[in-house]
Symmetry: C2
Subunit: 348 residues, 2 copies
DNA sequence: CCGGGAAATGTTATCGGTTTCACAGCGAGT
DNA sequence: ACTCGCTGTGAAACCGATAACATTTCCCGG
């Protein structure tokens, strides 16, 4: 390994002071053209570039944002990360990822690591809400003292930071309304784990929506489950096997597209044909939705746009005084074939 | 925003020198118990933690690895990243992501950024091979002077760095052999873009495999395509519509699972039933493979294990002299139902 | 030929740590 | 009483940059 040339090496070799080297690097106009050329030559010869650590130390910041989320391998989250990455990039910032894993809680270790690294801002996404509410506030308050904080969160959390709220209202309303329009009356919900604030809020929103439309909210139509495909399979099995066929729902709204994938598999295994015997709605509008069989109607929360807004606000907040506010990106329903809309289908 | 306590603040308040504070932080045993306690108290009171930039500057390194790949939102790559992340984490390192986007080339900007940041090592994954070969060698040579370099690359690239080779031999051989065993004789290949070294190598391996097994290698059975689902759809359409039905292949090997997803959709749209009328093999064994209809038989290159090895070797290379070597993680075929293996199916 | 002001460059403190080396204090051995 | 060696601590240099301030150089008008 070779030692990288420092500003001192360049200065010495070019016969100038380090100040002048800095000026050349930063394109300060008040360097004589001749000097500039001489210094630039040495710089080029050594492929010199200033050390980031030194710059960060001097500047007291890192030109880096942190994105904290449960798992990068989940499509929803990697879309968030990807969008944040490019938006930051456009603004000359890098993005550092922190994964909290399934436990989804925001640990004191992460908080102090964020501070240690002098992050220019931090974006929390995913159910960090399962952190005890007091702990969460403590953590956010502490962080807020050192850097702008943003979250992609449910609408009613009201944290003292930049809140980009996911549109959980429409996330519940749109599928139910769509199914209702198509004639469905018995609509079931397969939610994420009820221990998660996010999921229980989704479940609650769903029930509320049913009542608003005078649809039955049979508890048997509401099954707790995880976030993945296996959970979807199991949940469907559990729900339907506990019910006489005559009481089966005609449609299932799922927590996300992965759960929907599992549900579809299980339903087919049980010999149902989709969407005739059962309609399905997913959530997240993942890349594979157009390629399931039948193509999956799904709610898009527009994670990319939320992440983009979050990053933009974080970068703004760096300059101005601390800003704490909330905004919502409205969810949309992407209609494909899993509810039979293309057939003009009407269930009994 | 609050100023974070520095080592000087702590030293002053505890009435000791900064050296002693460092000793306490680093648990140096030669601090008197009483002093240690006093300093520790002040540290706790301020929740003091040393600044990462300062440490990095002093140490001349960053305790961070770089992972360079085309796009994080592709499942194959986020599995690599995820595995690298945790392996690095286990060793007290962080991981910084660089995305090259579709252009997939390794740019001089990234090279100099990596050096600027004093990365402790870098892992390249994905088809950076589309970089001009000379440029690539120049870049790797240059980087190699400053940090250990690893790549996840095709087997015959022979770069002067840590090469974790993906098992492209079996990646071609396994599907063909499997299909052959099931009785298939007319086997087609839908590859990635032939401009990519990676893809053309896969295509070549496939042809070779056909010849070895005395199977026809009709050029009409070999279609150039992209890496995504749309490409898969288009490729199938193009291939089959150019061929009389009697000459249709009975099986298609695809470049990856996304292409397979597209192919499946198109085949169904054409009224074929799978796997009876057409067998399909994917590659990457992505999370959704068990949930396609029919469940997709796919080659697993074990990206996680490759990434893990790469990171392990990078960290080792930091200490010892520069190591340049190659290793292969053997690919495996995950058999599901898209080739009809479960039916004991034999095509004509 | 000189003074003044702008232009060009240099000096130096600073960012927040780590580390080397020096040194004070103290008990033990002779 | 004196030296030796050990323990605990501090002073100061250094890592690689930046920026405020100081100084030199240069050119021009008087």
């Amino acid at each position: 390994m070779v030692r990288k040339a420092t500003i001192y090496d360049i200065a010495r070799e070019a016969g100038v002071s380090t100040a002048t080297v800095t000026r050349v690097v930063r394109q300060d106009p008040k360097v004589k053209e001749e000097t500039r050329r001489r210094v630039q030559q040495v710089i080029d010869a050594h492929a010199y570039t200033p050390s980031v650590s030194a710059q960060n130390l001097e500047a007291g910041r890192s030109r880096a944002l942190a994105v904290v989320l449960p798992v990068i391998s989940n499509t929803y989250f990697n879309r968030i990360f990807d969008a944040a990455y490019w938006e930051a990039e456009r603004n000359g910032c890098s993005v550092r990822l922190f994964q909290t894993r399934e436990n989804q809680a925001i640990s004191p270790e992460i908080v102090s690591e964020l501070i240690r690294c002098r992050m220019d801002g931090v974006l929390f996404a995913g159910s960090i809400w399962s952190t005890d509410r007091d702990d969460l506030n403590t953590a956010l308050d502490k962080l807020g003292k050192y850097m702008p904080v943003a979250t992609i969160c449910p609408p009613d959390v009201a944290l003292d930071c930049i809140c980009i709220q996911s549109d959980l209202v429409n996330c519940s309303r749109l599928p139910v309304r769509h199914l209702h329009t198509l004639g469905h009356r018995r609509i079931a919900f397969i939610g994420g784990s009820m221990h998660s604030k996010d999921a229980s809020r989704r479940g609650a929103g769903f029930l509320e929506q049913l009542r608003q439309m005078d649809l039955p909210d049979d508890p048997a139509y509401h099954v707790d489950a995880g976030y993945d495909m296996e959970s979807g399979e199991r949940a469907v099995l559990r729900m339907l096997s506990g019910l006489e066929k005559s009481r089966w729902p005609s449609a299932i709204v799922t927590f996300n597209d992965l759960v929907a994938l599992g549900a579809i598999k299980q339903l087919k295994k049980m010999g149902l044909s989709l969407p005739q015997d059962m309609a399905i709605v997913g959530c997240d509008n993942q890349f594979f939705c157009a390629y399931t069989d039948p193509p999956l109607t799904s709610v898009d929360l527009h994670p990319e746009e939320m992440a983009q807004s979050a990053v933009r606000e974080l970068l703004l907040a760096r300059e101005s005084a601390s800003r704490s506010f909330a905004m919502v990106r409205e969810a949309t329903l992407v209609i494909r074939e899993s509810c039979g809309a293309h057939l003009g289908y009407r269930p009994l």
